[in-house]
Every structure is written in structure tokens, then in C-alpha cells.
């Protein structure tokens, strides 16, 4: 229960931060990505501010096995840089560059009741569905189907 409340609080504060930073505004995100146009460097400072604060917290939990609420620390440990990571991130970047919206801002936009935000969110969830479908197919069909005798 405590963890669920903390989770809501973290999501809520995250959303406030996106709004304050102007990052829930796709036009501002696109102005950062437009290096050859009238460039708005704000997003770089958003990242710098977030990383400066986040780095301390991650250093604090790094060697702990339990959080302050007693929950297990479940931070990812893989370090491998593979094709899947890079190709996936490139595909994400193309989508991000098309609309100026990434997953966090998509949820904040939906909360503002923006019809365009909701359209993006619906498509993003559908994209999730495509991923789950392809992954499931890979798990269920590891090799060719067995031959049948007539």
C-alpha cells in the first residue's frame, strides 16, 4: 500500500516536472530537435537538471538491497549494448522526431484532454501490442512446425 502510494506520488511529481519544464509541449521538444532551425536548447537543461538530482539518489540505492520502505531494490543490471537496443532506440527516435512526444509526455497530454494527445497515446499502446504479439510469436514458435504424415 505504501509502495503504491509512493508510486502515485512519483508519477505525479514526474508529471508536474514535465509541465514546469515545458516538456509536455511537443512544439518545444521539436524546437530542441530542430538543430538547423531556430534552436531551443531548453531540453538539454531539463536533462541536466534531472540527472544532477537523480544521480545522488541512484548512488544512494546502488549498494542497498532494500529501499527505505523495505521494498526490494530492482534496478536493471544488463550492460550489453546490442542491435536490439540500438535499433529499438533508433525507431523510437524517429517516432519522437515525427511528433515531439515520448511516453511520459504522452500520458500528461492525455491528462490535459488533448484529442491529439489521446490519438498518439492510443497508437503508442497499439505499438506496445505489436511488440507483445511479435515477442509471443517468437516464444511459441521456436522452430518449424512438425511435419504431418498422411
Amino acid at each position: 500500500m505504501m509502495c503504491t502510494t509512493a508510486s502515485f506520488a512519483a508519477g505525479f511529481v514526474f508529471g508536474l516536472g514535465l509541465l514546469v519544464a515545458g516538456m509536455a509541449n511537443p512544439a518545444k521538444v521539436l524546437a530542441f530537435l530542430d538543430l538547423a532551425g531556430a534552436w531551443d536548447p531548453s531540453l538539454a537543461l531539463v536533462m541536466a537538471g534531472a540527472i544532477a538530482v537523480g544521480a545522488g539518489a541512484f548512488a544512494f540505492v546502488k549498494d542497498r538491497t532494500r529501499t527505505l520502505l523495505g521494498a526490494p531494490v530492482l534496478l536493471p543490471s544488463p550492460r550489453r549494448i546490442d542491435t536490439r537496443l540500438i535499433l529499438g532506440s533508433l525507431v523510437f527516435g524517429v517516432g519522437w522526431g515525427l511528433a515531439g512526444i515520448c511516453p511520459g509526455p504522452a500520458l500528461v497530454l492525455a491528462g490535459t484532454g488533448s484529442a491529439k494527445g489521446l490519438a498518439f497515446l492510443a497508437a503508442m499502446i497499439a505499438g506496445n501490442g505489436v511488440f507483445e504479439f511479435l515477442e509471443k510469436k517468437k516464444r511459441v514458435a521456436p522452430g518449424p512446425a512438425p511435419m504431418r504424415s498422411s
Binding site: V20, R79, L98, A119
Partner: protein, 144 residues
């Protein structure tokens, strides 16, 4: 490159960024997890007992932020210029790409870089480069 000084908002960017960092810090210190929105949302597609409530709560918090904000004050400027077909294509690419890439701007960009994870730094460089390239093609090659 020319900096749009009239659009540049260094103070609110730094403060907003610090608030985002505080949210990620809160989540790490209390819940022991990465505040990565694509992963939290994606986990809802594979429901497992005991794994749902914190995910739903985080997503609800993100959606509630603008609702509470709008109740107390006017929301900051939000402009979506993209057409619906472009938004749908973008949403699909973001949905698929973040899952294969195992993270997005929050999980890799904020949390992963904060932890100096080589994987997340590589992912962040990749999605930033693709974002810059896409906007360049869309704004300066296709529709200059």
C-alpha cells in the same frame, strides 16, 4: 545553427528538470525501481499478480498531474502541430521502438544516464540522433 533566445527558457527547464529528477529519485529510494515510463506502461500488457498496482498508480500520477494543475491554475502552453496520420505513425514507432530498446527518455535518458549505465548512454545517443535526423528531414528536406 541559431539559438532561439526568445523561446529558450533556462530557468524553468532547470527547475522542471530537477523536479523530474526528484520524482526519479523518490521512485528509486522508495520503490527501488527505474522511473521508466515505457517499461512501466509496457508491463501492464503482461499482467502478473502483485505487479499491477504500482504500475497503474505511477501512470495515474502522470495523468493526474495536469488535471490537478488545471484545477488550480492555467496550464502552460501546449501545442501539437502534427497531423493525425503523423501522430498515429509516431505513436506506433514510439510504442514499438521503446519496447525493443528497453526504455525511453525517462528510463534511459534520465535514470540510466544518472546511473552512468553504458547501455542507457548508447540508447540515449541513438534516439537523440534519430530525433535530430528525423526533424531535419521533415522540416528542411521534405517541407523546407
Amino acid at each position: 545553427m541559431s539559438i532561439a533566445w526568445n523561446a529558450f527558457t533556462p530557468a524553468s527547464a532547470l527547475i522542471g528538470g530537477a523536479i523530474i529528477g526528484a520524482a526519479a529519485a523518490l521512485f528509486a529510494v522508495l520503490n527501488g525501481r527505474i522511473a521508466g515510463v515505457s517499461g512501466i506502461l509496457g508491463g501492464l500488457a503482461r499482467p502478473q499478480a502483485g505487479d499491477l498496482s504500482w504500475r497503474i498508480a505511477f501512470v495515474a500520477g502522470l495523468v493526474a498531474a495536469p488535471l490537478v494543475w488545471a484545477f488550480l491554475a492555467a496550464l502552460p502552453e501546449i501545442r501539437v502541430d502534427s497531423s493525425y496520420p503523423a501522430l498515429v505513425a509516431a505513436g506506433l514507432l514510439v510504442g514499438i521502438g521503446t519496447r525493443y530498446g528497453g526504455g525511453c527518455t525517462s528510463g534511459h535518458g534520465v535514470c540510466g544516464v544518472s546511473r552512468a549505465s553504458p547501455r542507457s548512454i548508447a540508447a540515449t545517443v541513438a534516439f537523440m540522433a534519430a530525433g535530430f535526423a528525423t526533424v531535419f528531414v521533415a522540416r528542411h528536406l521534405i517541407a523546407p
